[in-house]
Symmetry: C2
Subunit: 181 residues, 2 copies
DNA sequence: TGTCACTATGCAACTAGTTGCACTGCACCC
DNA sequence: GGGTGCAGTGCAACTAGTTGCATAGTGACA
């Protein structure tokens, strides 16, 4: 239900086309809300029908024309309504944990390899986040408003990825130790 | 796709009825894989058709009869296959982060209240996990095999919830500070 | 002139999860 | 005998997300 709202937040930061939104969902806002371009186009269509966003065609030269979306008053109202409403924490579904819990029923070596792969993947993401933090937010104490909020969300990513890396390391160490015995 | 596999792991630990499984998905295995009883019954039906589990009726006295499910050979094979196959990290969708990023577009006080609520919720979960850790795994270094794997998954929960609590605290502090200015 | 790569938009079919409801069995208590 | 509450099983409709495909415009380069 929140894809609409994520799009509203992103469009409010800066109006853009479906294509541009899809790109943002590959990074920045995509770090905490996943969406494919198919989903985005479909949702934008619905949002126009609801009157949450307005659309106008923009001719470009050197590249195909595009349709730019902008948040409408009804969209801003909906966003305010949603922001004030309570939301439940995401229901968790963590593949890797299921696999670890079932580890004794399969190939242990393959699984530790898989855990190591996840570890590296999370470490990579962590590096990306830390690089953004360093580059875009060198002086956090000076931040306020919108910029502060962006920074705080990024901090959530940093903390989450760091926790995951550390957990993978703990799991790997314990499973290898168990293996040796 | 992994609900089948989570059920296989759980049934392998101990055979049980749909109802019993649904209860396990309220705790233990449910801490990292969410599922409702409707989903579980539907999936069990499919798994019987696939030959992954077998089912037999068990008469009870003092309570209604039940249908107990047990992992079949084909189920064990499927589990081994799945354990050896790579899996992508879950796509993230974090409501609260979207809300924080859009904070300037709504009622700031309501949002900080919401963040505080989430903070408490995560703190509560953390306490639950820590209590289980203390009670069921008093001596982690002595663990091995299945028990070790259960412990390691629990550790993931502890780390995740702790990271969330700390992040909420960071967000609350920063937003309140920003408010005062 | 062809093809590659990127910009740009979209439909359709499928899969997985959510929500609301419905029903039976049985113990316990008033 | 009637209500409450837990045990136990399930269907149906809906919503959200995934996957595979289709198509067009434009610049760069061989």
């Amino acid at each position: 239900m929140a894809l609409e709202h994520a799009i509203l937040v992103s469009l409010d930061e800066r109006s853009g086309s479906g294509y541009e939104l899809a790109q943002r969902f590959e990074k920045s806002i995509g770090f905490f809300w996943a969406a494919t371009h198919q989903q985005i186009y479909r949702t934008l269509k619905r949002m126009v029908e609801l009157g949450w966003v307005s659309r106008h065609e923009v001719a470009q030269d050197g590249r195909p024309d595009k349709k730019v979306y902008e948040v409408a008053d009804a969209g801003r109202a909906e966003l305010a309504r949603w922001l004030a409403s309570p939301s439940e924490p995401e229901t968790l579904r963590h593949d890797l944990s299921v696999k670890i819990r079932g580890a004794s029923l399969g190939d242990a070596a393959a699984l530790t390899g898989e855990i190591a792969r996840h570890r590296d993947l999370h470490a990579e993401r962590l590096d990306v986040y830390l690089a953004i933090e360093k580059k875009d937010f060198p002086d956090p104490s000076a931040l306020s408003g919108r910029r502060l909020h962006q920074y705080l969300v990024l901090r959530g990513g940093v903390r989450a990825e760091r926790a995951l890396v550390e957990w993978c390391d703990e799991v790997l160490a314990a499973m290898r130790e168990d293996d040796r015995r």
